[in-house]
């Protein structure tokens, strides 16, 4: 058992913790980590950025999960492949910033949708087109992530539908439940573990990434990933410890969160494995 897991464990957790330790010792040479965290906490922009990131990330994650699971159900819920499966791989093969770039290409005030509405005579001037990119509400960021992550959710959940025991569903159907009831009783138990896990991965990624908000986000409020990136890549090397400290802190929070989730979904996994 150890032989099977240890290499994977060293590569993932081992190297990650080593990297965090290196960054931590670097913080130590330039002032205590706690002092640095204290400094960061006193920045008003930091808290604003944190709550904005939380909101945008939560909405992006929930929408991606919802649409993704629905897509899985519609496309793979019955026997036989829908054929559209291959198309879902498309957004996954392009890098994230290309997704953001496409959102700008389509939804910006000089984008394709604005061109089309103008041709149709719905708007006279492009400034009448709603502001959907680089907006202060994070709509552009959410659109980019949903486009990019829905296929990921489908990829993770489609196999569950493909293999789901159809008889369970029929049993509920004969008992006479509505579609929601059917979903909740028959499908959700199988989906729960993988959906939650996918959600945690998505949440962690969206929360800390900078490429997408850098392109389609507004100057203010700013996603925390962008703030970290600016601390890290700015000309002043004195700000780098901030980037390391906040990265490490966010990492710790997510690791704890994922451990709790694993513990929560453990029994579900065992039940699926045993075929109960």
């Amino acid at each position: 058992m150890i032989v099977m897991i240890l290499p994977a464990l060293i590569v993932t957790a081992g190297l990650s913790f080593y990297a965090v330790a290196v960054l931590w010792t670097r913080l130590g040479t330039e002032g205590s980590p706690l002092v640095i965290l204290n400094e960061i906490a006193s920045l008003p922009a930091f808290w604003e950025s944190l709550s904005f990131s939380f909101g945008v990330t939560a909405v992006s994650t929930v929408l991606s999960l919802g649409i993704g699971v629905l897509a899985s159900k519609l496309l793979f819920g019955k026997k036989g492949s829908a054929g559209a499966g291959a198309l879902f791989w498309v957004p996954m093969a392009v890098p994230h910033f290309v997704g953001a770039y496409l959102v700008i290409w389509f939804f910006s005030q000089s984008g394709w949708a604005a061109s089309l509405t103008q041709q149709l005579g719905w708007i006279d001037n492009r400034t009448e087109f709603p502001i959907l990119t680089n907006d202060t509400g994070g709509i552009g960021i959410i659109l980019s992530y949903v486009w990019k992550e829905v296929p990921f959710v489908v990829l993770m959940t489609a196999p569950v539908y493909l293999e789901m025991n159809n008889s369970v569903k029929h049993a509920v159907a004969t008992l006479g439940g509505g579609p929601f009831r059917k979903f909740k009783d028959a499908e959700w138990p199988y989906l729960k573990a993988v959906t939650l896990e996918t959600g945690v991965i998505l949440f962690a990624f969206v929360f800390g990434a900078f490429e997408v908000p850098g392109l389609v986000g507004a100057t203010r409020p700013e996603m925390i990933g962008v703030t970290i990136f600016e601390w890290y890549s700015g000309g002043s090397w004195e700000e780098r410890p901030y980037a390391y400290a906040v990265s490490a802190l966010i990492g710790v929070v997510f690791i704890t969160l994922s451990a709790l989730m694993m513990w929560y979904t453990r029994r579900l996994r065992i039940r699926i494995w045993r075929g109960e």
Binding site: M4, V22, F106, A248
Partner: protein, 260 residues
């Protein structure tokens, strides 16, 4: 019917934007207000093709991605299997630990690991880059393969055990054929992620390991949309090809094994 409509709607939302990239890579004049380009050009594709580092970058990218995919399966499959078929204490904790690299910002990881790479002599080499690409890829591989094992189910797994035969033969003849989809997905993922790694490659590779991402990332700062589109399409082609190849190899090898 409902399913066909849904499939069409999703295809429209998710695949059509890619067509926009194709069209734009050939567009030389596409002002606001036009829903179709006014003039065409091959210049967008000329930019990547005129870069003398392109051939080298392709070679490096493919080499690294293939190694990453192979290492992922080699390390990921046993770990995923153990997580499903074995019962042991602290499983949740280990499960969570295996997820750690994707919960941390990748730039922070890269900076932290650079010292280790330098001292182990893996910095500035393509194999070092390939090894460290395991961090952002392995957690996904393990999860995908684990789901595959879970779906085989205990009954079937125990049945195949009771039939006897070596562990290796059982793995090749019984488990692997049932997991074609999972393996294909894992390879696809590993390649996608490896190909798009920028920060990790630049830092571990020290700038001397030129992959497609390293080559084209700076071009994204250009205002010429056709070049960016051409580069994006080029990069996206690789993972798709890798997944198809993995699928083919698996199917053929299964047939050969079964015919024994």
């Amino acid at each position: 019917m409902k399913r066909k409509a849904a499939a069409a709607a999703f295809a429209l939302c998710f695949a059509v934007p890619l067509l926009a990239l194709v069209v734009q890579s050939f567009a030389s004049e596409w002002p606001f207000g036009e829903i179709w380009p006014l003039a065409w050009t091959l210049d967008g594709w000329g930019v990547p093709f005129s870069d003398p580092l392109l051939a080298e970058a392709w070679g490096r990218t493919i080499l690294i991605a293939l190694c990453v995919a192979a290492l992922n399966l080699l390390i990921g499959i046993p770990a995923a299997k153990a997580l499903v078929v074995r019962e042991f204490r602290g499983k949740e904790l280990i499960d969570a630990m295996l997820l750690v690299p994707v919960l941390l910002p990748i730039t922070a990881l890269a900076v932290g690991l650079h010292i280790f790479a330098l001292q182990s002599g893996t910095a500035n080499t393509w194999y070092g880059v390939a090894f460290f690409h395991l961090l952002p890829t392995l957690p996904y591989t393990i999860r995908i393969i684990r789901a595959g094992y879970e779906r085989i189910g205990r009954n079937q797994y125990e049945q195949s055990r009771s039939l006897g035969g070596g562990a290796a033969a059982r793995f090749l003849l019984v488990e692997l054929p049932q997991m074609t989809a999972s393996v294909r997905t894992a390879v696809f993922f590993a390649v996608v992620i490896s190909v798009s790694q920028f920060a990790l490659t630049v830092i571990i590779g020290g700038g001397t390991v030129t992959t497609m991402a390293v080559l084209y990332y700076p071009y994204t700062n250009s205002a010429a949309p056709s070049a960016v589109s051409a580069f994006s399409l080029m990069t996206a082609a690789l993972p798709a090809a890798a997944a198809l190849a993995a699928d083919g190899v698996l199917r053929i090898s299964t047939k050969i094994l079964k015919s024994w």
